[in-house]
Symmetry: C2
Subunit: 411 residues, 2 copies
């Protein structure tokens, strides 16, 4: 019962993921757009601010009235108005006049600068002395200075952060057009697999994969759809798989660490009408027997059954793929932060496989990191929990030496 | 109308945030625990795996029966069983016997090693030749090898990732005890402020702050509670503020860029019964007139009214504070990834203030980053959207020179 995998590189695998089209866009309420990717340029429909505002507490003036003012020779101005917040002044400031104005207050007609309150003295009931000159525009935020009507406020492809929400809110956008979230069918297979709620009988194991994959899907901003566990039965698997493809954009199968169940998975996937097998076998460790297929626009990703392999493959391919479907760029994962660290011990890898080695990061008092490989057999889930990230050893390297500075990707 | 701020350092402000107690814990379903912080050590209640399993496809054997086996002198073993997935074998493997076993299959009694199928040949109906010797434990994952019953699986204080969910699922945990999410009342104040849905009349502005703060609160894993906009009226503000304190763990006020409204905020906060003012004024730019108070266990954070200042202060203090309340460590934010970058131009800062300069990061072809300060007046929200992060210039520095390598914090 030998196994025939046509092993491709991780780059080739990513290229095949890129053959799928991005998802269509949808309008969502502004507050729901956090971390979503904007699907079209958002153009301002008005100036921000809509008219000139004061940047300080002080007096709105005609700048020329203050030219030459100093402590010894202050300019004397008549205070003709007190501008409240939220009230656009209707009267104008004429020559020799000033209007008291708070920070954020809208400038009255006639005024073109603001003198800070610190540089004024009260002079009687309705006059002030100005002790510093201002030029036109000083302490004023001009209309359209922040954003001009018609300008691109948030470009297509930008992931929405708090500040994008703030700027869109300030401009009156209550909705924003973003890429739709992928729906992901999560299907575990195997006669021995039982739901985590149940007490496994002798020989059974709990379905960890459904939960790790669903968590990763959720973390990627996508929506997992839980399916019941499927036994190792071609007919039943075929039926559930087709349901997954109909309901979801991406169907993730896991199960099949033995050759027999892996064969069942690939045979069942390829037996579906219109399915094209894009990849079966990728040159990574762990995770070699990974499968990618399509039925029209719908993707099917077959993960190895081992929970560790399944999780690594999901981080390396599924996470960036879900980001890509939502408008992000596509590259090999994990998608976490890269940290430079010094290897505490040499690591060995097989030529021809890109190997992902679990790493614990220890931060030194000088802010540098030491990368400590996490020992233990590759199938142990506890090694994933002990690790802070992974080190990817490229296909063409036999490993790294103790003391090498390497890139660790946090996960 | 001068303003009296007793300005403290960011470190002192963080120390005052640390005077609040962390929130109590709660049990949540396992799948809802993603990114939450575990509130107590989780101990395994059983071994993982619960009994020895095969790590390969092959034959379960008594290792001593294979000693000395080779291609020229294979060991001949009788195949007495075929172990299925999910079926714990009841028969035992005796001397001279073997049982066919798939990857993940549970070892039958008597067997202590597995020979890979590649190192066997079929010899008649019910026998195999073994061509490589194995020692005890080879290709076997022993009971408890991944996790031993009683061991700490996930330590207190750990933020839950996909892999923690996987390991907890494998061990049968359907719930996990995590710190409760903070509830955050988000209150905007100001006569001129109107909801983003409405068309501002002349002199009015839209309430950007409520949306930026709520987005940041959500991103920090906390729950924003939206309050209606409060006019600049002491009685009304007092009433809403007290509602916020009752309903939420943290009440965030924003508004008051003018001295008058800022005075109103601090007077109203301190007029509430049992309120202790912990800070009013912090040595940062932007964001100096920030306010922190407590009423019992409840925190009140007063943000500046300028949307940019409000957002920076929220990133510097509110984000880490919300993480701390949920079990995280407490330090000055922003909490994003730190990137080393070369400054494209020198930046100037005021001695005595920790200044946060908005930075655009450009990645060079060699993977290094160039840090380009984003120009424009500090009050412009668009500068936050153009920026990838901030550079914090410490209080005691006048700035950095062009070409300096600096730490940029992504936001």
């Amino acid at each position: 019962m030998p196994e025939f995998l046509k092993v491709i590189t991780t780059d080739e695998f990513v290229e095949r993921l890129g053959r799928f089209a991005r998802l269509p866009s949808e309008c969502v309420p502004l507050d729901a757009a956090l971390y979503r990717t904007v699907a079209e340029d958002v153009l301002a429909l008005e100036d921000l601010p809509v008219s000139a505002r004061s940047a300080v507490d002080g007096y709105a003036v005609r700048a020329e009235d203050t030219f030459g003012a100093s402590d010894s020779f202050p300019a004397l101005l008549e205070v003709v108005a007190e501008i409240g917040m939220g009230i656009l002044p209707d009267g104008a400031v004429g020559p020799g006049q000033a209007a008291q104005i708070p920070t954020g207050g809208f400038l009255p007609l006639g005024a073109d600068a603001v003198v800070m309150v610190e540089y004024t003295n009260r002079a009687g009931e309705s006059s002030i002395e100005v002790t510093r000159p201002v030029t036109s525009g000083v302490n004023v935020q001009e209309a359209g200075e922040d954003v001009k009507s018609g300008a691109i406020v948030v470009p297509r492809g930008r992931q929405v952060r708090s500040q994008e929400i703030g700027l869109l809110a300030a401009l009156g956008f209550t909705e924003v057009r973003v890429y739709r979230r992928p729906r992901v069918a999560v299907i575990s297979t195997g006669d021995e697999v039982v739901p985590i709620e149940s007490t496994p009988k002798p020989g059974q194991i709990r379905d960890a994969n459904a939960h790790t994959v669903s968590a990763l899907v959720r973390a990627a901003g996508a929506e997992p759809i839980a399916f019941p566990i499927v036994p190792d039965d071609a007919g039943r698997l075929r039926e559930v798989l087709q349901h997954g493809i109909v309901q979801a954009d991406v169907t993730v199968l896991s199960g099949g660490s033995s050759v027999g169940t892996r064969d069942l998975m690939v045979e069942t996937v390829t037996s579906l009408r219109g399915v094209e097998l894009l990849a079966h076998g990728v040159a990574i460790r762990p995770g070699k027997p990974t499968l990618l297929a399509r039925q029209g626009d719908k993707a099917v990703l077959g993960l190895p059954g081992h929970p560790v392999s399944a999780l690594i493959v999901a981080q390396v391919f599924l996470d960036p793929f879900l980001g890509y479907l939502q408008g992000g760029s596509l590259r090999r994962g994990p998608m976490g932060q890269r940290v430079k660290a010094r290897l505490s011990t040499s690591v060995h890898s097989t030529i021809g496989l890109e190997e992902f080695i679990r790493i614990r990061l220890d931060e030194g008092s000088d802010g540098t990191y030491c990368a400590q490989p996490v020992f233990g057999k590759s199938g142990m889930l506890s090694t994933m929990v002990k690790a802070d990230g992974v080190l990817a050893v490229p296909m063409n390297l036999e490993g790294f030496a103790r003391g090498d500075i390497v890139d660790v990707i946090r996960f």
